[in-house]
């Protein structure tokens, strides 16, 4: 079994707000992330897939295909977007880094040929990242 990781970057804005909370609760729980005008990050995405090396190609996965899938399923939807307003998953869910990692997992998990998705890691800043291994 080999693990292969591909990185990509995207820039997006978001804010944290749950309509079930009172304005005071939203402010207390989410702090400055609750500003309704949003704020932005340069996110770094690391997608790790696992699989056996194909004896003919020497590949775990076709990198070009992985790159295209990441672009089509994730970057086209999230890069230079306001996540709360433009990405359907976040109409009902707070776009925390946790939920972004889960959303990206779900966008990619069934779209990879041959290799199996192992981990989605999303850096919100160089000092903060979330990993999701598909554990329900």
């Amino acid at each position: 079994m080999l693990y292969l990781t591909r990185k990509a970057e995207f820039a997006a804005s978001h804010y944290y707000h749950n309509p079930e909370f009172t304005p005071e609760e939203n402010r207390r729980i989410f702090g400055k992330c609750n500003n309704p005008n949003g704020h932005g990050h340069n996110y770094t995405l690391e997608v790790t897939v696992k699989g056996e090396v194909d004896p003919r190609s020497g590949f775990v996965v076709d990198l070009k295909q992985l790159k295209e899938t990441m672009h089509r399923e994730v970057l086209d939807a999230m890069d230079h977007r306001f996540l709360n307003k433009e990405v359907p998953e976040f109409a009902q869910q707070v776009p925390t880094t946790e939920n972004i990692a889960i959303a990206i997992w779900r966008r990619l998990a069934n779209k990879l040929n041959h290799a199996k998705l192992h981990r989605v890691r999303v850096y919100e800043t160089p000092d903060l990242f979330v990993e999701f291994y598909g554990e329900e």
Partner: protein, 161 residues
């Protein structure tokens, strides 16, 4: 829905690697320039990884502000701009980054209850990093295979945590 969350924190401290149980020559050959009696310093980066269920209401494993407050109060306030050798935990123990990792793991494991602690990693320099996941002691057989350095603490103490 379970996710892992990692956060990095920085602090600066000095230390000297020296063991009273070794002769001056052994200390010199074991620790090299780190045995300089006046000590030296590093900018340390700690990486704390916690895991837990993503709360459907907040979208969070745990609130980062709570983790920040805890690490600031319990870890950074203790170690930042200190000489590690002068701290109680290093009175009898060499302040290697391995041992520091174990201490910080124990502090977070004991005191931070809002998420499950997975690992504590420390980068001492860009080239050296250490990680501790709270494993039990290596068995003698594993030690013979040379798996890492053996922490100096008593095994029974760690296993009680």
């Amino acid at each position: 829905m379970k996710a892992h969350l990692s956060r990095r924190y920085l602090f600066s401290a000095s230390h000297r690697l020296h063991s009273d149980s070794m002769s001056p020559a052994e200390n010199q050959s074991t620790y090299g320039k780190c045995n300089n009696p006046y000590g030296h310093g590093h900018n340390y980066t700690i990486q704390i990884t916690v895991s837990g269920r993503v709360d459907p209401k907040t979208g969070m494993v745990c609130n980062l502000a709570d983790l920040d407050v805890f690490i600031e109060r319990e870890v950074l306030a203790r170690y930042d701009h200190q000489n590690l050798n002068t701290l109680a935990e290093f009175a009898q123990e060499v302040p290697t980054t391995e041992n520091l990792c174990v201490h910080i793991y124990e502090i977070v494991q004991r005191g931070f209850t809002l998420a499950h602690l997975e690992t504590v990693g420390i980068e001492e320099t860009m080239l050296n990093s250490f990680e501790y996941a709270g494993e039990k002691e290596f068995t003698a057989e594993e030690d013979l295979r040379g798996r890492g350095s053996k922490p100096q603490k008593q095994p029974d103490k760690r296993q009680q945590l």
